[in-house]
Subunit: 208 residues, 2 copies
């Protein structure tokens, strides 16, 4: 027995502690819906007093929003290298890149895109909006469009529409397993090609 007085708890740098709590919260919010996760649960998993959560994040809801924000904001590993080449080559590459990314973070991704039953949450929606807009911009650039385009907002809207399909397709593939990767690839790249080649040119003429 080393007579030492083992400290009851260890003192951490604020950033460190904050991150630790954040990670535990992210796990739990990924497993159960918001209302089914208590701050006591989070504190317990982090091995920390419940009050500390409020100290670092203010409110359970604020903590939740922080988790949502980080989870949905896609890592900037994004743009990287999409090849030049024919339209088909580029759409194929884009879809492939995306499916790779999704299959890596499978669990997180699925938890993040799962639709809720009913009841709108303004703040969450806003975060999702921004994330989608960002992703849509990257896709458009990869397809050879220019951010300066006069109808940029409209292009974004169309791609965001497509994003809805991408999310649904991901669920069919990873969650329900009703489609395999190749089938999902076929559907998504076909549709993306149709959008770029046929729909976008046509939509431009229908602004009013």
């Amino acid at each position: 027995m080393t007579a030492g007085s083992a400290p009851k708890w260890r003192r951490l740098e604020p950033d460190e502690r904050r991150e630790q709590i954040f990670v535990c919260a992210a796990e739990l919010f990924g497993e159960r819906p918001y209302a089914a996760v208590s701050t006591a649960d989070i504190a317990a998993r982090a091995g920390v007093a419940r009050g500390l959560i409020n100290h670092y994040f203010g409110t359970k809801r604020e903590l939740y929003l922080a988790v949502v924000r980080r989870t949905l904001t896609l890592p900037p590993s994004a743009v990287t290298t999409l090849p030049d080449g024919s339209l088909t080559e580029r759409t194929d590459a884009a879809v492939d890149w995306f499916l790779d990314m999704v299959s890596k973070q499978q669990k997180t991704w699925l938890a993040a895109i799962t639709p809720e039953g009913i009841g709108r949450d303004e703040e969450v929606e806003h975060i999702l909006d921004e994330a989608d807009r960002e992703a849509a911009g990257l896709v458009l650039e990869a397809m050879g469009f220019d951010r300066g385009d006069e109808r940029w907002e409209q292009l974004i809207a169309i791609v965001r529409t497509y994003a809805g399909m991408v999310k649904a397709a991901s669920r069919e593939w990873l969650d329900r397993e009703t489609l395999n990767r190749r089938q999902v690839h076929t559907v998504l790249s076909h549709v993306l090609r149709t959008l770029v080649a046929d729909v976008i040119p046509r939509a431009r003429t229908q602004s009013e």
Copy 2:
């Protein structure tokens, strides 16, 4: 002053009271996220004691699920009459019919398809699943497919993928107002046509 002893409250038929509470709950759950609606709020709006909610629905959550179930289960006004004719005519008609329906129940529809930030809710997902499957079946039949098809499940999956796009497009149109009805129509019918004509035949050959 009629000396009468005005009763403090009126006694209703169970079905009647149940419905009244249900309607108030549906309104509130449509306005705010689940956790931001208290049973006291619902009881207040219904002009009823809070305990009565538990008497009729057991739990706040059960009441919520009941609301979700009814809201997401589309009215059977669905099938009705989709014309024969060329593929283009049929896809156009299907998309038109759908956009009409959506624009009528705008508010409810938007509240129902709004995505949540993170955190999966098994039961809600299951309800959504069933609703989507039902809708997908109708679309497929309208497109001339047969429920007896050997790959019916796979077809359902593809159309459910498309449903994700439909929902996203509805938000762009009704909520963000970044696309007008004609543009949404163009996008959706184009894609639906592509799916039926090109993708589905191809996907069948990629089952493994």
